[in-house]
Amino acid sequence: MTSTLLIEQLLNGLQFGVMLFLMAAGLTLVFGVMGLINLAHGALYMVGAFACATVATATGSFWIGIVASLIAAAFAGTLVEMLVIRRLYKRDHLDQVLATFALILIFSEGTRWVFGSFPLYLNVPEILAGPITLPGGLQYPMYRFALIVIGFLVAIGLYLLISKTRLGVRIRAGESDREMIAALGIDIRMLYTVVFALGAALAGFAGALVGAIQSVQVGMGEPVLILAFVVIVIGGIGSIKGALIGAILVGVVDTMGRFLLPAAFKLFMENSAATSVGSALASMLIYILMAIILVVKPRGLFPANG
């Protein structure tokens, strides 16, 4: 095993992690600020990917597609918040889960109705296609490298938004004490809609970015949603910092597990048995990680409200 392979896998883990962060950030904000469990977050990821694929195909520009994904997902998020979610804040979590699960079905079948069952075509832009050579002679896909950079830029942007702006102050206040901020004359309904739309836009952005290297199809959001929930539980619900660290932890552990575990089992097992035991265990690894972290820190690594 060479060190370049190890470094390449670390970069892969990092890239997977920052994309999970885009999903998890919205999810954790919505849960932290509004106390809402939103299963339909994955549907917004899908909306972003479909908007990007459609617009990119029509205009021939990936970048216009990205803008479209942000707008479409934020718009869908706003609409969903005003029509459905708004009625759920005071209800218990079971009602929220049921209603947002229904939203998943509506979004999935609606998308199939409009776009059909076959996957859509979306490829990375010309300028980011192909590999780049990193110091040390390592070849790495340029697009994935760009994703890592974009992910960290978004993380910095969110940090500045939450800690330095008036909107950020309101979001933090909304997390700590909902009644008090309403009593101080802040339009809490407006704040909720804005936070939900922001989360939706981030999910749609992630869907478009990841759709270009994976596949744009109905139901693409749900597997990511599960991982995003794992991330926010590990990171501490409501915490953006927790979501970033949790996402990178999950991304790196999952990627390294998939590649190191089968190799480790090969040291003392026959080849094909080692491969299947190793890969089976690797797919459980992040859940094992989550269980261990919850035993040690039941509220996650960085719980939002102390």
Partner: protein, 366 residues
């Protein structure tokens, strides 16, 4: 209505259980459309078809099968795409004396010791296409293959099938999570392994994701795989990144025979898209039923079975015949992905295995 043969007066009711919604529904839709094209072309008023969606769920497929057999009184069941669903439905269907004709799934358990007189497979045994790719790799002189499939029964069958006919060494053997969409970790392993060829069995969205990521990685080891990953429905989404990939199939759009030309043309005219191998399998399944109806009454199970087994159809695949285990003996071709005008499609490169029979047939006592 004027009937041509004396035995055709008996109406036949076919129940089709296939995947029309959710993941993988593109396959079921193609099977259905191919099947209904043949039914429409035949115009036989004695054939009635009921279609239901299994949403790729085994429990739902079993429920529908029970309903179709008990309350709708179908004579023949067909349509199932996935091997795990087929294993849940087929054994009890044939045990109740009904016919089952598979338009896709061909699990090894139903081809060897578990073969049954009432079970026909009009598509393939699951290993066939992988065996074809293995034979091609040996012929092409590859010495170090990196092989990869999802960690589930059909994935293991795929790699076993490839290894059965591939004589070189392995640079690596990897099982991925079923439904995995990110292959960065695996591609890094391919890069580091020094392989001279890569064989992947990644059907549906998994294959799309892999091909796109592979193209961007800068690794230039040739990729090959069974037709499932390079099928007409998928090529649209994979686009230019798949051009040049070799894949194995029992059918191709450019096979030179009259039945195929007519089929491709009429399918395009009817549905406005190119047919896939799944559409061919559905088309052949319907024609098998229609040909048997012309020769025997479905109420006379022995005669009907013999008529089915004769395989008396003009298949777009060219020659078509059943082996002793009632799975096809057919030629497996190697195709290459090309761009034809604005459309990505396949063209035949050559035959990998001529008149190939599956490895399990000898275990079948029929």
């Amino acid at each position: 209505m004027c009937l041509a043969g004396a035995a055709t007066a008996e109406p036949v009711k076919v129940g089709m259980i296939t995947t029309l919604t959710g993941g993988g529904s593109g396959l079921g839709i193609d099977v259905r459309d191919g099947f209904m094209l043949a039914v429409k072309q035949a115009g036989n008023k004695d054939l009635e078809v009921v279609i239901e969606d299994d949403a790729r769920k085994p429990d739902l497929a079993v429920q529908i099968a029970d309903k179709m057999i008990q309350s709708e009184k179908v004579d023949i069941l067909t349509g199932i795409i996935w091997s795990n669903l087929a294993m849940a439905v087929v054994p009890s269907t044939v045990a109740q004396g009904k016919f089952y004709i598979s338009p896709n799934a061909g699990p090894s358990a139903l081809a060897g010791k578990g073969c049954n007189a009432n079970y026909f497979n009009a598509a393939f045994q699951n290993d066939n296409l992988h065996e074809g790719m293995g034979a091609y790799a040996t012929k092409a002189g590859f010495k170090k293959s990196f092989i990869m499939a999802p960690n589930y029964p059909a994935g293991k069958d795929a790699l076993t099938g490839y290894k059965r006919f591939y004589k070189g060494d392995l640079a690596g053997e990897v099982y991925t999570k079923l439904g995995q969409k990110d292959y960065a970790a695996e591609i890094a392993q391919i890069r580091a392994s020094g392989a001279d060829s890569v064989f992947v069995f990644l059907p549906g969205g998994m294959g799309i994701a892999f091909m796109k990521q592979y193209a961007q990685s800068g690794v230039d080891v040739p990729v090959m795989g069974p037709a499932f990953s390079f099928d007409q429905g998928i090529l649209k989404a994979v686009g230019p990144t798949a051009v040049g990939v070799k894949n194995s199939s029992h059918w191709s759009k450019d096979l030179d025979n009259a039945a195929n030309k007519a089929f491709v043309e009429s399918f395009q005219a009817e549905y406005g898209r190119l047919p896939s191998l799944y559409a061919v399998q559905g088309f052949d399944t319907a024609n098998l039923i229609l040909s048997a109806m012309g020769k025997a009454s479905v109420k006379d199970a022995d005669a009907f079975r013999a008529a089915l087994k004769a395989g008396d159809i003009a298949s777009p695949r060219g020659s078509f015949k059943f082996g002793n285990n009632q799975h096809p003996i057919q030629t497996i071709y190697v195709r290459e992905v090309i761009k034809e005008g604005d459309v990505y499609t396949n063209k035949i490169v050559g035959a990998a295995l001529e008149n190939h029979q599956d490895a399990y047939a000898s275990d079948c006592k029929m």
